[in-house]
Amino acid sequence: MPWNQSNGERDPWKADGQGPPDLFDFFRKLFSGGGGGFGKFGSLNIGLVAALVVAVWLFSGIYIISEGQRGVELRFGSYSMTTLPGPHWHIPWPVETVEEVDVDRIRSAQNQSHMLTQDENIVEVELAVQYRIKDASDYLFHVRLPDVAEDFRDQSVGTLFQVMESALREVVGKSRMDFILGEGRAEIAAMIKQLMQQVLDDYESGLEVVTVNLQQSQPPEAVQGAFADAIKAREDEIRFINEAETYSNGIIPQARGEAARMMQEATAYREKVIANSEGEAQRFLKLHEEYRKAPKVTRKRLYLQAMQSVLSNSNKVMVDVEGGNNIFYLPLDRLMKGGDGRSSSTPPSGASEGASSDGASSMRDNVSSQVRQAIRGARENRNAR
């Protein structure tokens, strides 16, 4: 009802011919109308405007927190609450304000530098830290410059970076170089993480260290050659041992083979001599059996057979002289030489004997004739006596 009435009241104002009403005019008229004796209607107008203003004001308190963020509400500067993602409303300015904080985003910081170890060596370490905000209100209120975003030029003014550097150096300073460069990398990273978190919690910084990576740990450039050589030396050690093993693996089986051959040869020898002895014994016994039946004849036959074989296979000189004749010269050296030449030039097989060395045999014949002459001479001497 009051709306209609107020509308009804508007017509006369418009009739004033003051042009199209802007906001200022609107307010002025509103108040002047109120002052013009129509107190009831004027207060209604004020109420309307006030309601509108209040509505706009209240509306301005709506805000939306996106995923991964938190809203921190401050009432007259004093912390009141932290809101989760989603639409929210706060009592509008100047009573309450909201600050949005990226809590879930993983931020990172890196540091690379030389530092001293416990055993007073110098190592070069590159450290990367990932962190996030775990408590938005702590992050906002407790530390000035808790961290500096990566794209800023100087991260080192941020508390997180300072804590990182000091923790890194403290942990490295308590560790031995070999540990840092070798097996201790993961452990060192864990110690740094723990120390950083402890310090950051002491500051109530609202930061949480997610991961700490010891990306690189190496000796300084000035000594890298010596370090590389030491690593090579370790390889050399293994290589030397391997070479020796190779040698060992080469000769021991060979020796075993040799041993086996010796055993086999010995066994072969044993079997051979046993077999030979048995064979010869049997032969002897068989012959002896026959011999016993006709000893004299058999003996003679065997003897003559053997002598025949001996004499037919060798050169012979028959000296048919009785003793007492001393001047009988045998050119033994020439005989032997002839034998030597013969043996060196031909194989000692009886079959090729006569055909092979004419020179030698002619010489032998020569010698034989000399011998024969000598013998004849001797006979003549004897006969002459």
Binding site: V143, L145, K174, A233, E278
Partner: protein
């Protein structure tokens, strides 16, 4: 014109309200002055009232602040010069004390604090070797400094939350010495590795040689034994057989020896009085 009056009243009220209130942020601590005199301190965050013109409020940063001094050289007990970088974290504990001591100027507080820290560090490093400072007693130094700083910080109205030594670096000439020591150390390690390798290799080779010799010698022993067995067996076989008629054996063995002893190249000089020539010189064969 009640509406205008109302407007004026509202405006005036707003102005009065503006001048008679002040807001202390969550990050801040405030002091309330009355004509220059501190009447209230350590005021909590929120909306507060004051008399306009008579009172005024000043706010100070209540967060943890950083004192990040320039790196400074200190002498250790072995008279080595080390460069030390450190930072301190502090915050205002007693605002009125802080205000009195520093006139609320943060730089003032920082420089006084920095002086305290450097004196403390100089003392602590002067008592220690590099090794102790770097590793063993680093946190001890920090604790001592924190305590020292806090006792002196009392009068500044501040609290030193933490003192941390970040870098302790050797000057360049000392670094060079460290590098050459590290090189020597590595060379020692390298030589050690190689020597150990050679030692082990020699050991393995020697063991292999010994084993080979043992294997061959053992085989020789066994082989000789086997040969001996063979010889013994054959000797007994011969003996058994030949014992049947030693004389005949001697005869047989002799003629076979003659056969094999004289070969084609031997020249025999014979007299015709051996048994072989029994019939050689006789006429008619009788």
């Amino acid at each position: 014109m009640p509406a205008k009056i109302l407007l004026a009243v509202v405006g005036l009220l707003a102005i009065v309200l503006y001048f008679s209130t002040y807001i202390v942020d969550e990050r801040e601590k405030a002091l309330l002055f009355r004509l220059g005199e501190i009447v209230e301190s350590d005021i909590e965050p929120g909306l507060h009232f004051k008399y306009p013109l008579i009172n005024n409020a000043e706010v100070f940063d209540a967060r943890i602040l950083t004192l990040n001094a320039r790196p400074e050289s200190f002498l250790t007990v072995e008279k080595k010069n080390v460069t030390v970088d450190f930072f301190a974290k502090w915050r205002i504990r007693d605002v009125s004390q802080y205000y009195r001591a520093t006139r609320g100027d943060e730089r003032n507080a920082q420089s006084r604090l920095s002086q305290i820290m450097k004196d403390g560090l100089r003392n602590e490093f002067g008592k220690r070797t590099i090794q102790q400072a770097v590793s063993g007693e680093r946190s001890e130094i920090m604790n001592v400094l924190r305590g020292k700083a806090n006792s002196l910080a009392e009068e500044l109205g501040i609290e030193v939350v933490d003192v941390r030594v970040s870098r302790i670096d050797l000057p360049d000439d000392v670094s060079g010495a460290v590098y050459s020591r590290m090189r020597a150390e590595r060379n020692r390690v390298a030589r050690d590795f190689r020597a150990r390798g050679m030692e082990e290799a020699e050991r393995i080779r020697a063991r292999a040689d010994r084993e080979r010799t043992e294997i061959v010698a053992g085989a020789y022993r066994d082989a000789e034994k086997i040969r001996g067995d063979g010889d013994a067996k054959s000797a007994s076989t011969y003996a058994e057989a030949y014992n049947a008629d030693p004389e005949f054996y001697a005869f047989l063995r002799s003629i076979s020896a003659y056969e094999s002893a004289f070969g084609g190249s031997d020249t025999l000089v014979l007299e015709p009085d051996s048994e072989f020539f029994n019939y050689f010189g006789q006429q008619g064969g009788n």
